[in-house]
């Protein structure tokens, strides 16, 4: 037979928790009630942190902010699934999981307030700094996954990106490297449907982003990204696979950016309000609350307490941010090299003189 199919690929989609709060019991992960409540609490805290930042920006107390609203589920799910030894290599809309992995809230706020100290995470926090060039972090994730194996250290690299980033060459090079070297790396695509003003269907003619894994010889799966259980199941499978040396996985979490691209953007210019309304009905947080309430794991009283706690925590981050001393202009020079060259020292002195005069 001169022609015959030699590769056929199937991409699964996983959904467990419906917008109405009902679940597919057969697929529900074996999580304790405490963990389930923990996922909810984490998502609520993320949203409070995010909404506060948008308010601060409007008040002139914060720089440009990239809202995460609506994308809490993949971040909470991965945070719960990851082990302490795992590394997070975020893009720039991963505030939620960055907090969950130990980045102090006021430090991350400082980044967005225009202060490099906002990426000086504590030594024991295994989180990479925010990378701005879209998609460029994926290769770091592949490298970290390879590095862990080469150094004989436990751990998996979890790297995030958006739907727009899958159009970048870096994404494909990273998946390809990870596949070839069977890197302990998980690629999580938060497909929030929009790369600023360009919709997902204009990024690729492919039906899913998950299928991009196929050409790179690695598993790919699509999950309902507003369903924290579906993401959690896919994450656990991928983490287990990576940990046991079976290589990388691509997870496409289909979600929606309920806010603007950044506070410098107005999504009303290019998005249909009806589309937004449809996605608001699929919001990951209320659906999880419905689920927990139906299970008797959550009630109105607990909700009130959580709201207060989240608000108080966020306010404490803002206070800590605003209590940070002003950055030293010499810091511009101080961290360029391990040792400052004489020529740079001269330039630093030039600035010092200018500042003190």
């Amino acid at each position: 037979m001169p022609r015959k199919p030699i590769v056929t690929a199937t991409i699964e989609r996983l959904e467990i928790l419906s917008p109405d709060g009902s679940v597919d019991e057969a697929l529900l992960p074996e999580l304790s009630g405490e963990d389930m409540v923990g996922l909810y609490r984490e998502m609520v805290r993320m949203r409070a942190y995010d909404e506060k930042a948008v308010k601060l920006q409007r008040q002139g107390r914060m720089g440009t902010w990239a809202p995460l609203k609506g994308q809490e589920a993949p971040q909470a799910a991965l945070a719960l699934a990851m082990e302490p030894e795992d590394w997070l290599i975020p893009a720039f809309r991963e505030h939620g999981i960055m907090l969950a992995r130990g980045v102090p809230g006021h430090v991350l706020y400082a980044y967005w307030a225009g202060d490099e100290r906002g990426s000086a995470f504590p030594e024991d926090v295994r989180v990479f700094p925010i990378p701005v060039p879209v998609g460029s972090q994926f290769a770091h994730g592949a490298g970290v996954g390879m590095s862990l194996a080469l150094r004989g250290e436990p751990g998996v690299a979890v790297t995030f990106g958006g739907d727009g980033a899958t159009s970048e060459g870096d994404f494909h090079e990273a998946l390809n490297f990870a596949g070839v070297f069977r890197a302990r790396t998980i690629f999580v695509i938060q497909n929030n449907q929009w790369a600023i003003s360009v919709p997902r269907e204009k990024q690729t003619a492919a039906e899913t982003l998950a299928q991009k894994a196929v050409a790179h010889g690695i598993p790919g799966i699509q999950v309902d990204g507003n369903d924290v259980f579906a993401v959690h199941v896919a994450a656990r499978e991928a983490l287990d696979r990576a940990r046991s040396g079976e290589g990388p996985t691509l997870i496409e979490a289909v979600t929606y950016r309920l806010g603007d691209h950044t506070t410098a953007d107005d999504a009303g210019r290019y998005r249909d309000p009806e589309e937004l309304a449809r996605w608001q009905e699929r919001d990951p947080i209320p659906r999880m609350r419905r689920f927990l309430e139906a299970r008797g794991l959550w009630d109105e009283q607990q909700e009130l307490v959580l709201t207060d706690e989240a608000t108080a925590w966020v306010e404490a981050q803002v206070e800590a941010l605003e209590a940070m001393p002003a950055p030293d202009p010499a810091d511009i020079f101080r961290y360029m090299y391990a040792e400052m060259p004489a020529s740079l020292r001269e330039q630093m002195e030039e600035l010092r003189e200018e500042v003190s005069s």
Binding site: A120, E123, P131, S147, Y335, Y337
Partner: protein
């Protein structure tokens, strides 16, 4: 290191002690430096296109795979951005990757990783992370190669703060500078003058040694004119200096060796002494590193000058294909004409 010793012999070192040396080319010196550093530090790995089984298209990584295994000598997919991007992730988490870009003309896809990440990680994180890695790139023309195999774009990296730039011109310097680059806590772009990879051999100590980054050398001391160069152009300057000697002119050749950090003191001392200077590089003239050197000399030694500093450089053109490349590359006679101008000013 027995596998790398070809003509090992004992020679007297500067202090009279016996040092075992061997006569090697620049290409072999690269390989030996890599092997010694890999032996010394298990965090050092080598990665790039064809660096493993093939030993590199210039054989600069020959034998490393056999010696250190596929976990430390990685034949990567053909993707420059992927090579540098993964190396950044590795360097940030405890490895010391030495990544090869097969030819400098192929580096452009990786510029995002080099400039947006490798150069900035330490500063971005206020020292929480750094990227101790080396990116080796054969650079420059003169080997009759196809298009995009002859570029000399060091200026691009010199305009990207955070990246050290090293360009050796001899086997000994290659060994010592590459060892320093690998041990350095900052990212280093290490440019290898492929035109002279095998042009000559030099006695090089077999034992590990380093030559500090940021220190120029003076391979030909002189009194009346300073010729400044790096990489393959040092040889051109030495030829010119010897020709000048026959005419009774004493030229001093300064081999910068490291372009960032720059050894300003050695350069300026030489220019103050001679009062004349010719800067030679094969990169295009406009916004080339020569322009920076002329500006520095003017800022710090203008009144010591007998004549304006001359530049002998590549033209502001695309690097020509093989049949015309000898017209493009600076040569001895061009340097001599420039020297003449400084005397006739």
């Amino acid at each position: 290191m027995s596998s790398t010793i070809h003509e090992a012999r004992r020679t007297a070192g500067p202090a009279g002690e016996a040092a075992v040396t061997e006569k090697v080319t620049i290409a072999t010196a690269v390989r030996d430096a890599l092997a010694l550093e890999m032996e010394r530090d298990p965090r050092v790995i080598v990665m790039g296109e064809d660096v493993g089984v093939n030993g590199g298209v210039f054989r600069a990584t020959e034998g490393l795979l056999e010696r250190f295994g596929p976990e430390r000598v990685l034949d990567t997919p053909l993707a420059e951005d992927g090579i540098i991007g993964t190396a950044v992730g590795m360097a940030m988490t405890g490895l010391r990757p030495v990544a090869e870009i097969q030819f400098m003309g192929f580096v452009y896809p990786a510029v995002n990783q080099l400039l947006a990440h490798m150069a900035r990680i330490r500063n971005r994180t206020r020292g929480r992370f750094h990227a101790p890695m080396v990116v080796r790139m054969p650079y420059g023309g003169g080997i009759h190669a196809p298009e995009s195999h002859s570029e000399s774009y060091e200026a691009m990296f010199l305009n990207a703060p955070g990246i050290k730039v090293v360009v050796p011109s001899t086997p000994r310097d290659t060994r010592g500078l590459l060892a320093s680059a690998i041990r350095d806590e900052d990212p280093v772009v290490f440019l290898e003058p492929k035109r002279i990879y095998r042009a000559f051999r030099e006695e090089v100590p077999v034992e590990p040694f380093t030559i500090p980054l940021g220190v120029a050398s003076i391979p030909h001391p002189g009194e009346q004119v300073t010729l400044v160069a790096w990489g393959a152009m040092v040889r051109v300057c030495l030829e010119a200096a010897r020709a000048l000697e026959r005419e009774g002119i004493s030229a001093e050749v300064v081999d910068l060796r490291t372009l960032n950090p720059l050894d300003r003191d050695t350069l300026l001392e030489s220019v103050r002494k001679t009062g004349r200077c010719v800067v030679v590089h094969e990169a295009p003239r406009t916004a080339g590193f020569g322009a920076e050197l002329v500006a520095l000399i003017n800022e710090h030694a203008l009144l010591d000058l007998e004549a304006p500093v001359q530049r002998v450089t590549g033209f502001d053109t695309v690097f020509p294909y093989a049949r015309l490349e000898h017209h493009y590359l600076p040569n001895r006679d061009r340097v001599l004409r420039a020297v003449k101008k400084t005397f006739e000013f």
